[in-house]
Subunit: 438 residues, 3 copies
């Protein structure tokens, strides 16, 4: 009798097994269909969160620049998403994840290469998500590197040249250097660690931005007779919307980099990410209030981003307390960095260099200082920073210089004075409003 009851209950998991698990033969060993599905779902949620960062960049950049260049910035940021997604499908994904390769450069071929049979759709390799999920999550990352450049060169770059530059940068430079770590290349083998891209995304974009800004020169009127003249952004609401959307997206940027819905890891990342951003707000507020005597909104907005960029490399591998320290330091760094670039007459309209490049370096080195994993070494982090810095700076400088010589990279003085919106696009961003030509 008892035995019979036992068999009755046994039937339950059996039925589940027969109906629910049989079709999962293609799932990786040890991952049930259920767990695979929730992991995959979380990765897709992270994907749409990273997508919305592009709106965050578009609104932040346009908010921090002048009304006469707003259409141009919105156009660039919309086009870059499209370029990023398509080139990543065409070649980026297979350059970044080439499989077995020499550790420096490899290419798995043009287009997407869905594994044979149902493996790509059902149980991709030994992962926690499908091939398509893998591609689209990574593709959303790709365009962000080019977008970072966009902010730094705003208000004076020629649209066509910028589109060509960012196509090459996102299609070739970003994925190749990305393969060094995330594709399993030489830096990965050396032990370099960059969880979600303080260097691989923000640093890469930041070094590219630095190169382009040096080739391009400052905006007319920014440095006059050795004096720095502030050029105010036209809409702080837009800038604030941008920062909140970026912060929101970062939950997917860092949270998705766990590459599964693992409860412990993802929730830790949510906490370290949030607290680093919050700490960046507070320390940039205090610093700017003390140094500039006024609490500066654009500084605390950049302070939150500084904290976010800072925690990106180690958000899964530092303690909560460390995350707060990393954010606090980033928030101080960003204020002084903005002042420093002004001082050395490098014109970066939105503070992209300070946020993405400088705090990206800080975040990458911070892994070497704060990681709870003893295998993460400061000197290896330093090697990584240098390797990415040299490569990306040289590549971007070369590409942009070649464009300068051939197509030209800068609008004419008249175009810059009257605004890129009317000259490049023929339509103002705001119609009906009385707007002074700052």
């Amino acid at each position: 009798m008892k035995k019979r009851l036992l068999f009755t209950y046994l039937a339950l998991p059996l039925v589940v097994a027969l109906l629910g698990i049989l079709p999962t033969s293609a799932f990786a060993a040890g991952v049930s269909q259920e767990l695979f599905t929730v992991n995959n779902t979380w990765m897709l949620v992270a994907t749409f969160l990273v997508f919305i960062m592009h709106l965050g960049f578009a609104t932040l950049e346009s908010g921090l620049t002048r009304a006469k260049n707003t259409t141009n910035i919105l156009f660039k940021n919309t086009a870059i998403v499209a370029i990023g997604l398509l080139t990543y499908a065409l070649c980026g994904f297979n350059l970044m994840y080439p499989g077995d390769f020499n550790g420096w450069i490899g290419f798995a071929g043009i287009g997407l290469s869905l594994p044979a049979g149902d493996a790509g759709l059902i149980g991709y390799a030994d992962g926690n998500y499908t091939y398509y999920t893998d591609f689209i999550f990574q593709a959303m990352f790709a365009a962000t590197a080019a977008t970072i450049v966009s902010g730094a060169v705003a208000e004076r770059v020629k649209l066509s040249s910028f589109l060509v530059f960012s196509t090459i940068f996102v299609a070739i430079v970003y994925p190749i250097v990305g393969s060094w770590k995330w594709g399993g290349g030489w830096l990965d083998k050396m032990g370099f660690y960059d969880f979600a891209g303080s260097t691989l995304v923000h640093g890469v974009g930041g070094w590219g931005a630095l190169a382009c800004v040096l080739v391009l020169g400052p905006r007319i009127g920014k440095f006059v007779n050795g004096q720095v003249r502030p050029i105010l952004g036209h809409s702080m609401p837009l800038a604030t919307i941008g920062v909140f959307l970026l912060w929101l997206g970062w939950f997917g940027f860092n949270g998705g980099s766990v590459l599964s819905a693992d409860p412990g890891a993802v929730s830790l990342v949510f906490v370290t990410t949030s607290l680093a951003a919050a700490a960046g707000v507070i320390s940039s507020m205090v610093t700017s209030w003390m140094v500039q005597k006024k609490p500066d909104l654009s500084m605390i907005l950049n302070g939150s981003l500084a904290g976010l960029v800072g925690i990106t490399a180690g958000s899964d591998t530092v303690t909560v307390t460390s995350s707060i320290i990393i954010g606090l330091v980033a928030g101080v760094i960003v204020v002084f960095s903005v002042m420093f670039f002004d001082k050395i007459k490098i014109d970066d309209p939105v503070g992209a260099l300070s946020v993405h490049l400088v705090c990206g370096i800080w975040g990458t080195l911070a892994v070497g200082i704060f990681s709870t994993n003893p295998e993460h070494k400061l000197w290896i982090q330093f090697v990584g920073v240098i390797a990415y810095g040299v490569t990306c700076f040289v590549a971007a400088f070369g590409i942009f210089l070649a464009l300068k010589v051939t197509m030209g990279v800068r609008v004419t003085e008249q175009e810059e004075m009257e605004g890129l919106d009317m000259h490049e696009h023929g339509v103002a961003a705001y119609n009906g409003f009385q707007i002074t030509n700052q």
Copy 2:
């Protein structure tokens, strides 16, 4: 000994079965509680994504129209969400999903009809989500059809008449024609395919918009002495925010239409949806740059939406390559379509006809061309397009004409010139800004 060990391990799934699976007796056969929960969770995520599309429509429409009509547009779009949700609860859901019916029209009764016992809450029919999830996901869709009309009739329609029209349209027309396919009606039985609503949502809204625009006539000043005068939108940042939010929402619109969190299907839909949108941006950019000699922001914004509408009908059933082709074609179509409607003097302030109607038709036919499922036939897709077109156009035309005769559908000339905000609502959208009355 070995036997004992075996039984020890056997105990594990047994415990899980006893504790975790026993309460799931109401779940559909073959779906574990875990899988049911993740499916249901994904459907609710998709629900809030579709919800945020309403903010996307509100900001896109107001950005592409004049500042003096902004309050009016925001009001309409907020009210429509409320009307859509409530009428769908009252009668729409039971008209659209009447159960067994004659294939043309059926009605399961007033209000929601939660299945008896816990079935509705725990394991709805043989589905992957609860009755309430089913309702709220579908309800979020319902209002979008009416919102599409809103954009086309903007800047001249009388608020009260528009509210009455959209109430009837969303409560009765949309769900009845919807039942023909998604409710299992005659077009479904014939083999017509529309995965997420290129025709059932965008086409329905688009045909309604065409009818209303014809009844209403163009805005004053749009066509003067046979010439087309462009009426510029007042805020490109608002329009861009709108497009990105719509794109974001589309991940739920298409991704949720899988009706489960099935990893292969949902991730494929994410990829086809993203790449079609990206392709629409690129092809509309190239087309508008060549035809209009300037890269037009509003064109690439509409280009991304064109790609999204185009891929909606077949995003689960075409290859990645096909999705890019569908998006590319949609991006070209939308540019020429906008020019065409101008030419034949049909005034559509936001390009709703070109995006939703024309690309909705394209997307529906594209299933017949590109689908990997040989059961999808071009001629049946064509039949579906015609059936929806005739019905929705005639119904909307009739309703709106009846309103014209009774309540009037258009504001007075003075109201239109001075703006609907002051006349209909007594409050401007922007206060403190110097705004010229375009």
Copy 3:
């Protein structure tokens, strides 16, 4: 033979069990790793939804006030998020959830207290999510209470004093009174019910706002010679963006308060939340149209929020029909409440008192009227409302009065007239636009 086949199939769940379930020994009894993971994932989705409410508050508040104070409002709302998250980590979480305590006040110590071993990361207590998820979800709630105060005191409060006030309020007052119900304190033991915080969040913030507004007094020019002078908000698009983002966030606010991804409960909450908001829009539209003779956009925006606040306390425990009634009543209440506060000369620039305090009371009492759970009693709900009201009002009044005496809480008349942006921050929110100093 048959037996062998049986064993083959048996092997499947066994393998899953061995590989997938063994590491879950730390999971709560009866919750599989899969279910735990989906529950935890949903809670993190809810967390980022509540996060985005802060952008909703920031844009709603700045949209409904004047352009000259916009930077100030954006600054406050960005800083509050940071302050809320950090103080909640420092002491708030352990004040609100002190574990075993006297029911009135308890403190589990400074900082986060991750359970020993892997329990916090893998299977937190007997819950459905990790310790970190618990913390970050609750932390996102904490700051909202202070943000509600921000709206009511806008356009005249001194930044430094407000930051000090909100730090104390969110770090100490909110968590202590929160512990009375959600921490298992005396009101919880008495049977008081507040599912997601009609009183615990919105009421607490609302009572705080009332106290501060009384200490602060009305804005210059609001009440002149006994007449109420409307002070118009500067941007209805910003206000509308705010309301839609708040509504979006409410899916996480209420949906996450289920504290698991339970399909029946979460989907019911989605439906009641949506329909109450929709009903609030409709009833406030009708009421304002009848009373003010014009359909007022700011009224229907507040109407949707009224419905949302109203349904918050009982969204899991009332029927769908009841949720519509609760929303309808809330939408009527909010219109008359706004008029009432004007009449008694209490100046609340954004209607925060009417939305959060008055409708928070309504929602809390509505549980006593409409709950399907007979243990919910109206008189106990009333006791809860009074207890929170007296405590929060007295506490906020005391803190803010102390600040008035020491630091001062109000900017000078000149600063108020010229705008807080230039005086407090030295930077206008809009540059390049011609803006009149309303």
